[in-house]
Amino acid sequence: MGRYVIGRILQLIPVLFLISLIVFAVMHLLPGDPALLMLMGAEGGAVPPERLVELREQMGLNDPLWMQYFRFLTNALQGDLGASLRFRVPVTDLIASRFPSTATLALAGLAVAVAIGMPLGMAAAAHKSGWVDTLCMTLSYIGSSMPVYWLGLLLILLFSFNLRWFPSAGGGDFRALVLPAITLGLLSAGVLARLIRSSMLEVLAEDYMRTAHAKGLSSRIVLWRHGLKNAMIPVVTMIGLQFGALLAGTVVTETVFSRPCLGRLIVTSILAKDYPLVQGAVLFLAVVYVTVNLLIDILYAWLDPRIRYGH
């Protein structure tokens, strides 16, 4: 197990390296001049050319690209992602202050997705081709085909403006988290339900399930103890991938609900051309996503010994 974990972590290094290269490369195709943007933001009006030359030199923008990338990488490894052009504070500070509420939202969304998707998929598999199955799959289709923001707006319309149960905007307390979490979770619930259904159907056809029935266990025990446990294995991986989708989904959800979190920060930074902030925040989210998937892989190997001995 230890060897598997170390091997998996080592595999991560080239991926992380390439992620940083992709983010850097894409961001440096940017046609704008960051030094000019910075000066226009700070001093306004006409920018004196000598000041621009000086700042370009100071920011290292005259160096060859590979040298800029090398500097970006070594700084990033030391936890320095540069300073935001707009806020004039280190990017890492901004990420650290906004990320906890984004992570909370993604986790809450995941909880909603599992709480809804799992029973739905189980019910559909247990009553295959019946009306429960049709209903579950219809709901799951609708859930995974809806635009995130649209679902959010409908929930706001219903639960904030008409019923007045939850606030329509803002961060902070638990009540403000409910609608965004449901918005985010319902979309993944559909995907999850479909996956659990197909995984469950596969398990139900296994010989050991027939054996369990044959030795006289009640169908409830067979379904929940023998079925779910084995059907969960592919689902765990899927939950990991969904967590990444949820993390990214927060970008839109936070905008709909005006939550001051990391995703919202990325969007406003793109509009404000605050490129160090966009670069740093995207890099950070990608690293979080990769790390979560690594943890999931390890959990998967722990759940299913065939994986760790297979390699």
């Binding site: 080239p14 991926v15 390439l18 992620i19 290269l21 992709i22 983010v23 894409v26 961001m27 195709l29 940017l30 046609p31 289709y141 609708i142 995974s144 085909s145 809806m146 635009p147 995130v148 923001y149 649209w150 707006l153 409908l154 706001i156 319309l157 403006f161 995907v191 479909r194 996956l195 899927m238 990444g244 989708a245 993390l247 990214a248 989904g249 970008v251 839109v252 905008t255 709909v256 990325i266 969007v267 930074s269 793109i270 509009l271 490129y275 966009v278 995207v282 989210l285 990608a286 996503y289 990769v290």
Partner: protein, 311 residues
Amino acid sequence: MATKTVDLDPDVAAAIRQLAAEADAADTGPPKGTGREAFARFTHHPGAVIGAALLIAWPLIAIFAPIIAPYDPAELVSRARQAPSAEHWLGTDMLGRDMLSRVIYGARVSIMLGLISVAMGGIPGVLLGLLAGYFGGWVDTVISRLIDALLAFPSILLALVVIASLGPSIQNMMIAVGVATLPEYARLVRGCVLAVKEQAYVEAARLVGNSHMRTMFRHVLVNVNAPIVVLATLQVGNAILIGAGLSFLGLGAQPPTPEWGLMSAEGRVIIQRAWWISTFPGLAILSVVIAANLVGDGLRSALDPKMRLGA
């Protein structure tokens, strides 16, 4: 798979000629009858048929928008924020433009987005997957690592980086969505090619003197086209969702373009007084995306009942 120029045993030569004939049969597509059977399997799913009908209807609406739409989508035809009525079936927006006409014209943008981004992601993605799977070795290592790194970004995040670099506009949105969906194609095609490459007819195609290019496109690619068609169909829906999300955030289509995501964003601040402005464009997206998903799943089970795409 190097070309061999040794003298062959007559039996072996005969066997190769037979395999070559099989390879040529692959040139003319699947054997007779399977197309009709697949069509029968497809029409057996009521969901797939409904989806196909919708998927045919929306492009027709888009093409004939000037004939169908009751008003000009940009013209201020009436009082602002009028609720749906006999005169304006879907009401008017915050400026007094006819919502029905805007939703009808919006189909043009979304259908274009779906097609262009699938081409932009699908063509390079398929090529990369084909090269990696067919040649293996260092070509595979380089491409696979790149794909892993791209897959490490949740697709909307990848789209955001591209938009950040190119600037928000409708063309850049299409490029961004294309790039965001590219790695999925590459991963799928690589996996399928790895399986097909081992088939005897591929080696036979090489042995009778076909070049790598011809073998790759005429013998390998045609045998992995079914999963590509399924993925592309599903990705049309995905692309429309990502694109609408970007436009909702203000990073895609810009006003006054009648784009569904943007229209929902425009109605967001006045949703309490004019629910219809945000609601109807979202409903349009839902119908297109559901249709694409239903058709994609229908094709998947029609083309090959055993075929599985990663969820």
